[in-house]
Symmetry: C2
Subunit: 317 residues, 2 copies
């Protein structure tokens, strides 16, 4: 493990001096999980904690990728050094994308943005472990803001985006049908709404519906900041300035009253939780593999017994 430690330390040193290939390799180590991911987490943790994290989520086809591509390019071409983590099989980097998005991502990249995509499947320990670790790498090496783009369908994907400082939920007219089950969930996590494809019929109705839903949630919920609603036509680049302004205003809001600490504390806790769950599930798998089968015992009693043994490990020896 010592050689792994020193290899990672060299990568961290090179990354600190701006070497992009080292950053890419650190991201890959985190994405793969396991002990190397842990070493990277410990090495980058003290360097991180300064960047603003933006989560962009919403139904498939809502235009998240186009919005992300524009936002990344505009940020990179002004004074920022953005990073994009696209957790989305249809992201501009993975084939399914519109030519324009690709071009804008390349422009963003040329101006200093770091673009990275990851598949949603097949992660050891899952997305919930890999994403915060990858964000930490970007953060540690000065990328700011960091944009996480996820498709808002599965619970894990929504959770991942909601662990951001500013959560942008992208909808279009008729969006409720596509994400029926998650509608309330998306409302709950949104700091900002974008009604994209604002040139289409129904866009104004979608905005009105959102206003109504927000009104209702504000009456019953805690007194939080009312989410702004931005109208965009991403393919035409319309509304993008307003979006960037709204994100920036939300960031200012977070800095008042130290709201940002609350978010980060929540995020820290969520990551501890994901990691502990992962470790416990590994233990569960191992202890199941070794049980003696006795089908005459009810499975729940057997599980209760296994748990007792696990929690008093000494008795096992």
């Amino acid at each position: 493990m010592a050689s792994e430690d020193s290899k990672i330390n060299s990568l961290v040193d090179a990354a600190s001096e701006g070497d992009r290939r080292s950053i890419a390799r650190l991201l890959t180590l985190v994405e793969r999980g396991g002990i190397s991911a842990e070493i990277v987490a410990e090495a980058t943790h003290p360097l991180a904690g300064k960047s603003h994290v933006i989560g962009i989520t919403g139904a498939p086809g809502a235009g998240k990728s186009t919005l992300t591509a524009y936002l990344a390019r505009d940020l990179a071409e002004s004074d920022h050094k953005p990073a994009v983590l696209a957790v989305d099989p249809s992201s501009p980097l993975t084939g399914g994308a519109i030519l324009g998005d690709r071009v804008r991502m390349e422009e963003a990249s040329g101006a200093g943005a770091f673009i990275r995509s990851m598949a949603t499947r097949g992660h050891a320990g899952g997305l919930a472990l890999a994403v915060p670790g990858m964000v930490r790498v970007f953060d540690a090496f000065g990328f700011d803001p960091i944009i996480i783009e996820t498709v808002g369908v599965g619970q894990v994907e929504v959770d991942v985006a909601s662990a951001a400082d500013t959560v942008v939920v992208v909808v279009t007219s008729g969006w409720g049908d596509a994400v029926q089950a998650n509608k309330a969930g998306l409302l709950e996590i949104a700091d900002l709404f974008v009604v994209n494809k604002a040139d289409r019929p129904g866009a104004k109705d979608a905005k009105r519906d959102l206003e109504l839903m927000i009104d209702l949630s504000q009456v019953t919920g805690q007194a939080v900041r009312r989410p702004e609603i931005i109208m965009t036509t991403a393919t035409e680049g319309e509304g993008l300035d307003e979006l960037q302004k709204a994100v920036s205003e939300h960031q200012q809001f977070l800095l008042q009253d130290d709201q940002i600490s609350l978010r980060r504390s929540k995020r820290w806790k969520a990551e501890v939780s994901s990691r502990l769950e992962y470790l416990l599930l590994e233990i569960s798998k191992n202890s199941i593999e070794n049980i003696e089968e006795n089908q005459s015992s009810p499975p729940n009693s057997v599980a209760n017994e296994l748990l007792k043994k696990l929690l008093n490990k000494d008795e096992l020896h």
Copy 2:
């Protein structure tokens, strides 16, 4: 707890004498989870273990509900006493269904079948805990076969159906597009395939594709029984006899060489595993709630420390 115990014992006694309201209440207790569900599991476990369990799964809109309704009716009207557990928001019992399915389910019910639907969301401990417990209740009180119908989209739903003795995967032409991600997974669990809507163009191609996929998997995989492919037009009742015959032949196959024991052993283990995972996740939640926050520590180290403490509980006192 003593009064809960005796209440459940009375329900079990009444259910043993065929009282349907008691069976329904036991199912509800299992569905709700918690300590009552555990008591029911322990009370019904010794009575169960005789029934044949059929899992029916596939893409939304493939016609699973119609097939299930026909199968249940035909079984009930011959010498059987089937039960149906529809884990599917669009099942005939929950509004979205075709009138014909509803009628057939009522006929099945009239002939002695027990039909129960459950929502896929909001279960304490999840579907993976509730479904085996509910199947055990049906089994304990003489329902045979027990049909579990699930929509083959989420991993949990597929797992639930695959914990059956005979797994029927229902596809239609073009099915690959709808369940892209799960295609390989569905192939892996199928004991029988149904190509439904056999009157539509493309149905023969779908069958040919399946044959090819099965050929490929047989070459690489273990030597198991080659899944039969049944062509049905469920809405017309065509192919249903063939399906019933194929299910019955698969059941005979399982009884040879004691294949059935292997399945049940796998199922028993899977249930122990679900239960243990659930218990461990509860523990994880509790221990996270009580941690002292210290964001200067990397989340993974904190989780590792928490785990150590959990596994050596004595040190906590």
